[in-house]
Assembly symmetry: C2
Homo-oligomer: 112 residues x 2
């Protein structure tokens, strides 16, 4: 397995890119395969220019690659930078699991 050693800047860009529902939705759309910019824009109630702006934030974070195919720009998902974000979050897993387990226990005690 290739090891990913995330840089601070890389994490900043990935987390920033994920901090908007339209950008997360675009990644979800691309998970089922490459799409053109207009296909990506179709379900969103914003202008093509706004979608294009979001796409460029995703491109800057390395999460989307845009390839020219004649007059059409095809967008592809590159999920690799997400592994750095996932790795960073993994350090805290024990903390939220402990807290959620304590909350569950509290709810159980209250139910009795």
């Amino acid at each position: 397995m290739v090891e990913q050693v995330p840089e601070d800047d890389e994490l900043d860009e990935v987390f920033r890119a994920l901090a908007h529902p339209i950008r997360r939705a675009i990644l979800e759309q691309l998970a089922s395969g490459p799409k053109s910019v207009s296909e990506l824009a179709e379900p969103h109630d914003v202008s093509l220019a706004a979608v294009s702006k979001h796409l460029h934030v995703l491109v800057d974070a390395g999460l989307v690659e845009i390839e020219k195919d004649g007059r059409v720009r095809r967008c592809h998902l590159d999920a690799v930078p997400l592994s750095a974000a996932f790795g960073w979050l993994t350090q805290y897993r024990v903390f939220w699991e402990d807290r959620l387990a304590a909350l569950a226990k509290l709810l159980e005690t209250e139910d009795q």
Copy 2:
């Protein structure tokens, strides 16, 4: 286990909170136990006001709780909102693992 169903707004705030190295560093400092605001500020080369601003972004995302203890404000980590971000990222694990495996294979072939 208590199920976390993340709202879009919650994910926006958590990802936004994580998109700065000082905010991620503050969470790392709090992972070893509660700290006062000045203890948190100490290793950072920015003003106390700047640290306080970052802290409030973390509080808004539900990642830090500030408790008044006399004249001291003690900050505690609450990692639970990170589980929503982790859950969202998990959907993409197969994509980055496939891509990283393909890259590793390519490097192996090139080495031969």
